[in-house]
């Protein structure tokens, strides 16, 4: 147990910091979910990152990465969020699909997809859910029927993040029409501009889009677009879900920056608020620190050859509940101004707290609802019997 950065790690931090200071756009980019313009501005930022070889620092150099370890990844993330750099429009690609491709892809697939992903040339959407398959992913009905060297895709996906403007999507399809539940599923990629694909934006509670429904009618893709063996989709998908919940998708730095902003907001209004708000603010800081320390701990273990297990589920529960509490604390400080849109003349320093609050409410739902996660913890971590 040694919680001191090595000289190399310190040097690396300074390298990231200098680069970020030189390259992070001085003004925030427009939302990548609200307009094509915002989306393309973010793609441009992905390209800038890629040119500095910062697209995905843990990937091998062959695919545009730097082959760094998880501690370095954490340092990178800390500096990334510290600098206020843009959200990653390609997070479905680089954080979700990327690691899975790295593990299950053929050399040809890796060469074809990873490089374009790291460079920002291809932005990915995920297409997990279906109208009747939310937390119950094994209920997917969309099909991929083999026809020579191709698959023909049919079905209806929903809650696809980034699908409105992205280039590619990945999702589960039933390749064995007679199969039930999690058997007979395969993981297949498809271009969102392929003939037969129709993307329908879903208006969200905060008025932005971001999620979409995808209707697939006889969409033809080469069998090359299948990741892993036919019928192995469920296994691969579970591995992806592990990455998603576990480590990459919600890096602690993001929450630590939010906690710092919350403390600033509190200090500015300390004398107008109830004393209990102070406790909520301290709690949010404590929780973001605990989350960061926990991820450092996991990263140390993984670096030494460990595997991520049910802690992916404890992480999911912890950050999603912390995120809601943090935003509720901010709203309680804003008081009567909490309901204002940022365009209101009296908005003052309300920031994006209300947007963030709405976004946080989705936390306990997506990427496997917290109810599912508690089942997983109870059954796999504590060893309680299945119903």
């Amino acid at each position: 147990m040694d919680l001191t950065y090595s000289p190399d790690q310190k040097r690396f931090r300074h390298e990231v910091r200098s680069w970020m200071e030189a390259h992070v756009p001085s003004l925030p980019l427009p939302s990548f979910d609200a307009s094509r313009e915002g989306f393309e501005a973010h793609r441009e930022w992905e390209r800038t990152l890629s040119q500095g070889r910062w697209g995905m620092v843990t990937w091998p150099e062959t695919y545009g990465g730097r082959g760094l370890d998880l501690i370095q990844w954490l340092i990178f993330e800390e500096e990334y969020y510290r600098a206020g750099a843009p959200l990653r429009v390609n997070q479905n690609g680089i954080f979700l699909l990327g690691p899975t491709l790295m593990e299950y892809g053929t050399p040809e697939q890796k060469a074809r997809f990873l490089t374009a992903m790291a460079s920002g040339d291809e932005i990915w959407a995920q297409a997990w859910s279906e109208p009747q398959a939310g937390s119950d992913l094994a209920a997917v009905k969309s099909s991929a029927v083999r026809d020579g060297d191709d698959y023909v895709l049919k079905g209806h996906k929903i809650w696809s993040s980034r699908a409105v403007f992205a280039d590619w999507a990945f999702g589960l399809f039933r390749t064995d029409p007679a199969s039930q539940r999690h058997k007979g599923l395969s993981l297949v990629f498809f271009p969102l501009d392929a003939p037969g694909v129709r993307v329908q934006p879903i208006a969200q509670i905060d008025g932005e889009t971001g999620f979409a429904e995808i209707f697939l009618e006889d969409v033809r893709v080469p069998a090359f677009n299948r990741l892993g063996g036919e019928g192995e989709g469920w296994t691969i998908c579970m591995a992806t879900a592990g990455f998603e919940r576990g480590l990459m998708l919600r890096s602690p730095a993001r929450f630590q920056v939010a906690a710092r902003k919350l403390v600033d907001l509190y200090k500015a209004h300390e004398h107008e608020v109830e004393p209990s708000v102070r406790e909520a603010v301290l709690r949010s800081w404590m929780d973001t620190e605990a989350y960061a320390l926990s991820i450092y701990s996991t990263a140390s273990r993984l670096a030494a050859g460990g595997h991520i297990g049910a802690e992916a589920s404890t992480n999911k529960i912890f950050w999603s509940e912390m995120d809601i509490a943090l935003h509720k604390a901010a709203l309680s400080i804003l008081g009567a101004r909490a309901e204002l849109l940022r365009s209101a003349p009296e908005a003052g320093d309300i920031g994006r707290w209300l947007d963030g609050y709405f976004f946080s409410l989705a936390g306990p739902i997506y990427a496997g609802s917290n109810e599912i996660q508690r089942n997983i913890i109870a059954e796999r971590m504590l060893g309680l019997p299945r119903a």
Binding site: Q204, I205, F211, A336, E339, A344, A347, A362, E371
Partner: protein, 362 residues
């Protein structure tokens, strides 16, 4: 013609009270469903003219205005179920703010030619009165009001919206039309000086907090009802999600919050006229727990709806937004907890004081 109670300790509403609320509930069930809200939002209009006309025709504008100046002379306890129904429906129009709060305030002032004229038009349903009270940083529905009653330096002014500069302060709730007002006030617009205004402004604040609590309770129940309806239909892992204990227990927890906010709200309505530390604490208690019930119920409803709760396509978001807004309207949690602290730390405590008030001889 206030609906009279039964002249003994009795916690039930009278038949008249239930009936009035029932009529409003039925009307809103007909004309104020989520589909109607969506239609209004898309139209960009401030009000649904047809719905507002039907509501006005019920003659509720003068519900809390004294009979001697043409109102119905009802008491707040006669109106609290109406306010609850407005919350349940997420009503966009200002029935509660106008009839429940602003108009009785204006009508309670020493009448002049101007005030009488405005009150008469408002009672006839021709205009609404919007109130700028120091408890709120904004004036709701100022642009559609026929008159603005504005507190400034502890006095009250009555002006036409055209005579002040209104700035729209857009809310996340698409149906809340909030404004700040500048200019236009003068000696000539003053309708009540500090001495007269103080008690009446305090009374308006009490009504505001009470009826806002009622709306929040209605919102809370609606969120549970929406989530229950969804949980009975939506299938996951081969059965309705409502069969899972995790879903059941979250909804039961929300309902328990509602069940124990409701009697506080009704007791607050029944005792508001005492206007003492006991009645004020009861109102504040109602406001706090109704806010909390609405918060828990709305978030539970979002969670039960799964991803769907996050979208415009389900109806919960209307109620979530209204709950966020009303939590700080007519006093936020800090304000109301302060009033409760005043009563708890300085008032009489114990089981024999549940219904104590300053004028009681018990």
């Amino acid at each position: 013609m206030a609906f009279r109670g039964r002249e003994t300790m009795d916690f039930r509403f009278t038949e008249e009270q239930e009936m009035t609320a029932g009529v409003v509930r039925d009307l809103l069930a007909d004309l104020c469903q989520p589909a109607d809200l969506r239609r209004l939002m898309e139209s960009g209009d401030a009000r649904d003219a047809n719905r507002w006309e039907k509501i006005s025709e019920m003659g509720l504008a003068g519900a809390l205005v004294g009979e001697e100046i043409g109102g119905l002379g009802l008491r707040p306890v006669d109106f609290v179920l109406v306010a609850e129904a407005c919350g349940y429906a997420c009503l966009p129009e200002p029935l509660v703010e106008n009839a429940g709060i602003a108009l009785p305030l204006l009508a309670s002032l020493t009448q002049t030619g101007t005030t009488r004229f405005v009150v008469e038009r408002a009672l006839a349903g021709e205009i609404t009165v919007a109130l700028g009270h120091s408890a709120n940083p904004f004036i709701a529905d100022a642009d559609t009001a026929g008159a603005l009653l504005i507190e400034r330096d502890s006095a009250l002014h009555l002006v036409s919206p055209g005579d002040v500069h209104l700035s729209l302060q857009p809310s996340i709730d698409p149906f809340r039309r909030l404004f700040t007002a500048e200019g236009g006030l003068s000696e000539a617009t003053r309708v009540a000086g500090n001495d007269e205004a103080a008690a009446k402004l305090a009374s308006a604040l009490d009504r505001g907090a009470l009826f806002t609590a009622a709306q929040l309770l209605g919102i809370a129940q609606r969120c549970v009802d929406l989530a229950v309806a969804y949980a009975r239909e939506r299938q996951q892992f081969g059965k309705p999600i409502g069969t899972y204990q995790a879903v059941k227990h979250q909804l039961a927890t929300a309902q328990v919050k509602i069940e124990f906010a409701r009697p506080v709200l009704y007791a607050a309505a029944a005792t508001i006229d005492h206007a003492d530390r006991y009645s004020r604490a009861r109102i504040s208690h109602a406001k706090l727990v109704a806010s909390e019930a609405a918060d828990v119920a709305a978030r539970t409803a979002i969670q039960v709806h799964g991803a769907m709760g996050y979208s415009w396509e389900v109806d919960v978001h209307f109620f979530l937004k209204r709950a966020i807004a009303l939590t700080n309207w007519w006093g936020g949690p800090a304000f109301h907890r302060g009033r409760i602290a005043e009563r708890v730390l300085n008032g009489e405590l114990g089981p024999e004081h549940t219904f104590t008030h300053a004028a009681a001889d018990a």
